[in-house]
Symmetry: C2
Subunit: 263 residues, 2 copies
């Protein structure tokens, strides 16, 4: 497995599909977009798609499958949505009941797969622009916080935004805004700079999800809309059946991060 | 009515709502976004929203109402979708059956309104950037053409892209691309520059919709995805009941064109 980093997206998907790799995907197929997954029954798909349309910053939809289909058209060829994520979570009535490496045996004709942008893509661009991404330097998960930012409801779905935080040196904040604003399909520009209390965050040292990271003198905390938001909102609805990816176990797509900037 | 040009969006909507104005909206409330309308029954709304998600360039959704609601949240306050377009068209089984100034008496609890970006917004920006928009200079409708560009299907909806054409001096083409690329919510960048045959257009002198305009020496025809596309695609499906705006009779929203560039 030492050559995992050299494999192409389709080679990695084949390895994952055949059960030969089930780990986290961070750092694999560098430069290619990785994506979050939400699979819902068709009966909930309109409300969720409308919710995403109304809240594109925390919920940037990259692609939606046809009901029952395990294929994609745009973000990956030669893909099997039931096997190509290294790990899946199955929720029943809002409770996590199974964590599995294939959801083939759970597949139904009415399931719709939502492929959702993740901040992994813009982090690579920040680093390329010379901006340190603290939790990557430290080998930690990004700190994420619940906020008081109300989302626009759609049907059953409503709630508040979850944000991720990265400490940025004051003199690099403008560059960080510019880099991420150019990538609206993976959350885009920050939603708040330097004033956590304004969005209801009381204690940066105790994130609601992920790990705390230190903020050094001369740095400000910068907050971006986070892809945990849609999963969070869905779980509050407690649908009878939902499949998601396991955190960090993403779909590796055929699309380059850079192409997301120009599409 | 001589002061129509000085009225705010909400003042114009009141005038339209109370039947005091039912004309074209071109040039009114300069700087504010105007929008196309498609109203479909809820049973077709998921397929149409998915079609728009898959084809955002010709079908840029600005906002979708809740089923049965005549209000908007984001693009206009104090709005009545059943009365605030100066003129509506009603189609039954794909045939135009009525043209009316109010659709109040046709309203149903299952109707969903799709508010769709129109190129009016980017034309104002082109002019502001010093680029002539030929059909406006000549007081004509923009020339529009059917193409061979296949759209990504979604459920019942499938078809080819309709494009609008504006002749641009060679030395201004790059600027025209930059100006419109910054406004993806109103069709964004051109889809073709200078080679109509590549997208299946045989005769620029005979557009499929709108009026022909002259192309002067030193100019190239530039083609943008066009908002006629979604209406065209819907009509091919011949749904039992659809309401649209009448061409040129748009919703005047509260949102500035410039804010669409930064959202």
């Amino acid at each position: 497995m030492e050559n995992l980093n050299k494999l192409s997206p389709v080679e990695l998907r084949h390895l994952i599909r055949t059960g030969k790799f089930s780990g986290q995907t961070s750092g694999l197929a560098a430069g290619f977009t990785q994506a979050n997954l939400v699979i819902l029954p068709r009966s909930l798909a309109y409300d969720f798609l409308l919710f995403a349309q109304r809240n594109p910053k925390p919920c940037p939809i990259l692609e939606v499958s046809d009901a029952g289909s395990r294929n994609l058209r745009q973000f990956a060829q030669d893909v099997d949505l039931a096997n190509d994520f290294p790990k899946y979570r199955i929720y029943r009535d809002g409770k996590l009941t199974e964590e599995v490496t294939s959801v083939e045996k759970y597949w139904r004709d009415d399931l719709v797969s939502f492929i959702i942008g993740c901040s992994f893509s813009f982090e690579a661009e920040l680093i390329a622009a010379g901006i340190e991404v603290r939790q990557i330097t430290l080998g930690l998960n990004v700190p994420m916080y619940n906020t008081n930012i109300e989302l626009t409801p759609a049907g059953k779905f409503r709630g508040t935004m979850v944000v991720s935080m990265r400490p940025i040196p004051t003199e690099q904040v403008v560059k960080a805004v510019k880099v991420t604003a150019a990538m609206p399909k993976v959350h885009g520009a920050p939603i708040q700079i330097g004033q956590p209390a304004k969005i209801g965050i009381k204690d940066l040292a105790h994130p609601d999800y992920g790990d705390a990271v230190p903020i050094k003198p001369g740095e400000v905390p910068v907050f971006w809309p986070c892809g945990v938001t849609p999963q969070n909102v869905i779980m509050q609805v407690k649908p009878p059946f939902v499949i998601t990816h396991s955190p960090g176990h993403m779909l590796i797509t055929d699309i380059k991060n850079t192409s997301l900037k120009y599409d």
